[in-house]
């Protein structure tokens, strides 16, 4: 436990939001992840929101180069990384300028004055020094020359002056550990492992961490310290902290295992989906064949080839990549093979905002191919939910012999939260069946789910051809027959609609009828839940419901929608789900609440929207 000798009062609080902000090269993402790691091991509930520029190292000291990491940790069950930070750590003027507007009034801002020279202010395009012009009067400003402090702390180190400066982030982290009465041990251990081959780096960073921690005791910068107790209200179980992309990758491996298949992943690197290919490339012991293809098109085609050959084909991408893959996906629909297409959405159109989040690929996912090319679409709600959704995508793909699009987004992909680890026996298997029986074999015969038989090439006696030309019902021979085409178009659509028979009607949380139902899909889950709780605290009861299966929509929705005067749908797009809902349920009242800033919804924004809707 913390070794602080401080006699300052320790104040118990329920939840804290800290934002670390600095230059892309300042190591803020590492600082944030280490704080997260420690909070997780301590047993807090938490949610994180890394926010970084698209450039790897944007020009130093500039506002576009600012990288941020927000973490909220709590003793209660929380659902979002928080609307506004309680504490802002600003490593330079640019970080301060970009982030100060988000800080809570009266919040703490810790500023590294060592980086506030005239040239630093100029790089950040500031005409006056915020530390002197009273623009920070509404906050509690703690000024520390971190540049100088690390030099002092690392006096005698063999590291170059430049390397010494790179330990600043651990000094800052140490100070935050002191302020929140945290244990340094997990980070000390992590440093020892991370730099195992560079003992001088281990020593320097550990020293910087301790120096930052001790500074809290010695320097009298603060009037008190805070403690956020363990969260005991989470459901019992074993937990680990998990990021969305990580959970999704594991879910794919689990899904393939539950189907009794090996994965063939064909992908092309793209932000923010690349970590999925990277993870799967490291799971070769599970028989995963991972191919970094020459482009997005080759990636999806290779994945389909993998499924054709008897593996579970997977391809992962982000919006622009999905656009490129759509022709291939159409083929997978025509030849009716399982395929999981992961789309980690980002801001668009075109290259758009590669590192920012958005939900604007929903219509692309459902409708974005030539002709009538239906497929199931499901969406992850949170980082840990990505595991379950990946398993579900595999299940649907295999059971219905269909490509499935699994939507995640940048917020889920890079965000993290505690994950209650599933017991393996809780996971239901859905073994794939390969046809080997020769008698009465028809490539486009169908079972009760309308799925056609899956044949591994190499099977004796079942040689047959499939392709993108329209096929005759049952035989699969090329057919240009008018009636057959219409029959097959309907058949393929009917098969996708059949998925509804194997998915549950989502649960309504809150009043079973009333004024407002907050309806979400994807990563708006946490914000909507948070808003419902905040409204309840203010005496306003609203219901909420979340869609995992966004196409086909589950059975039973109409009865639910009918029980509310308004169904309010917040989306990080211009109202895409609402368009789908209005088409399916024209008699119900949907109100769209769009936000397209590359940022998730704040709980306050949703609360205000509901209140204005209710005239309160």
């Amino acid at each position: 436990m913390p070794q602080s000798t401080s006699e300052l009062p320790l104040q118990l609080i329920d939840s804290v939001v800290i934002r670390f902000a600095g230059d892309s090269g300042d190591g803020m993402q590492i600082t944030g992840s280490q704080f997260t790691h420690t909070a997780a091991l301590f047993g807090n509930d938490l949610a994180t929101f890394p926010d970084f520029p698209a450039e790897i190292r944007a020009p130093a000291g500039t506002q576009p180069g600012v990288s941020g990491f927000q973490i909220r940790f709590a003793s209660s069950d929380i659902h979002t990384p928080g609307d506004a930070p309680d504490v802002l750590v600003a490593m330079n003027p640019a970080a301060l300028a970009v982030n100060i507007k988000d800080l809570k009034p009266g919040g703490i801002v810790i500023v590294n004055t060592g980086q506030f020279g005239d040239s630093d202010l100029a790089k950040a395009r500031l005409t006056s020094n915020p530390l002197k012009d009273h623009s920070l009067d509404a906050y509690r400003v703690i000024e520390i020359d971190i540049n100088k402090r690390v030099i002092e702390a690392l006096a005698g180190s063999t590291l170059s002056p430049k390397e010494v400066q790179r330990c600043k982030n651990f000094y800052t982290l140490g100070l935050m550990y002191w302020l929140y009465n945290r244990d340094m041990e997990p980070t000390l251990k992590w440093l020892a492992e991370k730099f195992a081959k560079e003992p001088a780096m281990v020593e320097a960073n550990q020293k910087a961490l301790r120096a930052g921690f001790n500074a809290g005791d010695i320097q009298e910068l603060f009037q008190g310290r805070f403690e956020v107790p363990k969260c005991d209200v989470l459901p019992p179980g074993t937990y680990r902290n998990i990021m969305g992309n990580q959970a999704l990758s594991m879910g794919l491996v689990a899904g393939a295992e539950l189907a009794g298949l090996k994965i063939f992943i064909g992908s092309y690197p793209i932000t923010p989906a690349s970590p999925i290919l990277e993870s799967l490339a490291g799971y070769k012991q599970f028989g995963v064949l991972s191919m970094q293809a020459e482009d997005e098109i080759a990636a999806v085609c290779a994945a389909i080839g993998g499924s054709y050959a008897g593996h579970l084909g997977v391809t992962s991408t982000s919006g622009p990549g999905l656009a490129l893959k759509q022709e291939g996906i159409g083929l997978a629909i025509a030849i009716e093979l399982p395929l999981v297409i992961v789309n980690v959405q980002r801001g668009g159109p075109s290259t758009g905002l590669p590192t920012k989040t958005e939900q604007a690929d929903l219509l692309q996912a459902i409708f974005g191919r030539n002709s009538e090319a239906w497929l199931p679409v499901i969406a992850c709600a949170t980082p840990s939910d990505s595991f379950d959704c990946a398993v579900e995508a595999c299940r649907i793909a295999v059971q219905y012999m269909t490509p499935v699009i699994l939507l995640s987004d940048g917020y889920i992909a890079n965000g993290s939260e505690p994950w209650r680890l599933p017991k393996l026996e809780e996971l239901k298997s859905f073994p794939a069946r390969f046809r080997t029986e020769v008698e009465n074999f028809l490539p486009y015969d169908r079972n009760a789910d309308l799925a056609r038989p899956w044949v591994k090439p190499g099977t004796v006696g079942l040689e047959h051809r499939v392709g993108g030309l329209e096929k005759a019902h049952l035989t699969g021979h090329i057919s240009y027959d008018a009636e057959n085409h219409e029959f097959m178009v309907n058949m393929r659509a009917a098969k996708v609609m059949k998925v509804r028979d194997s998915i549950p009607t989502p649960k309504v949380e809150g009043p079973a009828r009333g004024e407002v139902l907050l309806l979400g899909w994807g990563s708006t889950y946490g914000s909507i839940w948070g808003a419902q709780e905040m409204l309840a605290e203010q005496g306003i009861e609203v219901a909420r419901m979340h869609l995992r299966h966004v196409w086909p929509l589950p059975h039973g929705l109409d009865e639910i929608f009918a029980r509310y005067k308004t169904v309010l749908v917040p989306e990080m797009n211009l109202g895409q789900l609402v368009r789908v809902l209005r088409g399916e349920f024209p008699q119900r009242n949907f109100v769209s609440y769009p936000k397209v800033q590359g940022l998730p919804f704040r709980v306050h924004e949703l609360v205000a929207k509901v209140k204005s809707l209710l005239g309160r």
Binding site: Q285, G287, A293, G306, A309, E437, P457, G458, R465, G467
Partner: protein, 342 residues
Amino acid sequence: MPDDIVPTTTAPKPAPLDKKAYKSDQEVRWCPGCGDYSILNAVQQLLAQLGVPRHQLCFVSGIGCSSRFPYYMNTYGLHSIHGRAPAFATAIKTANPELQVWIATGDGDGLSIGGNHMLHLLRRNIDVKVLLFNNQIYGLTKGQYSPTSPPGLKTKTSPMGSVDRAVDPIRFALGCGATFIARTIDTHQKHMLAVLEAAAKHKGTAFVEIFQNCVIFNDGCFDEVIERSVRDDKTVDLIPGKPLVYGKQLDKGIKIDAAEARVVAPAEATSWDPSTRSAAAAFVLSEMAEQPGSPTPIGIFRSIQSPTFDEGMNKQVQAAVAKRGPGKLQDLIWSGDKWDVK
């Protein structure tokens, strides 16, 4: 769960291997007189000759006249999308290494829309056989110029003559580092059979350009070279280990000197070796036909051994299993730092 699909009978023995066994029950729909027929015939004959069981064969294609090929083979077949056959084939061979995988493609499919994928197929050296039907024209879309059309060719989309420079498939393949490169002629069954046999036996990507006549939109485009009466004088067959002699009377030879190939007396002809470390000689030969009076090389330009992608990928999986043991879901999920909530 597709529970109505339950294996009840055991599979019969592979069908006897005669050429007919490789013919599917589908009516062949190429234009009468199209060069594609003779390629189909040669492939079926070769497979029967080599005795490759039908269930172990997989033909993959893209889009175009040539890409209808899989429908006519009584084997496994995937008629995919335009230009992408190499990507499908790569995965099929890697995920199912027992299969013998062939790609049927054309000059448009393989070198225009699918040029990028062809590059990567060749450089990765996937163990698949590529039949590139080169007719210097777009057939299925009814006669537009292709990337192999000679400059100046007048077509519907180039009424004043194409201003595109043409790509030479052989030089393209050489540039991509292909491990087997050959050229043959649709009307020369014997030659085609020999080249295809060498291709089938090559381990790695075997790239075979086939001069193929499109009777409808580009009839006779290769006649200057391949017409029976001139063929022997206008082509030189690259046969590994044999001198580069040609002509009806075998009265001429080719000598490769530094960066040039010249016509010489047979006795002076270079003995052909397609397996040299450097591909320079093959490259020199590939350019030779552009000099007036020089023959067009056909036969085997290049044949070298190199590790294949499909084997490399599978070896890595085996190595990972050997090192870490077969992956266990429990270990994967229940890894990292954990804590308990009671």
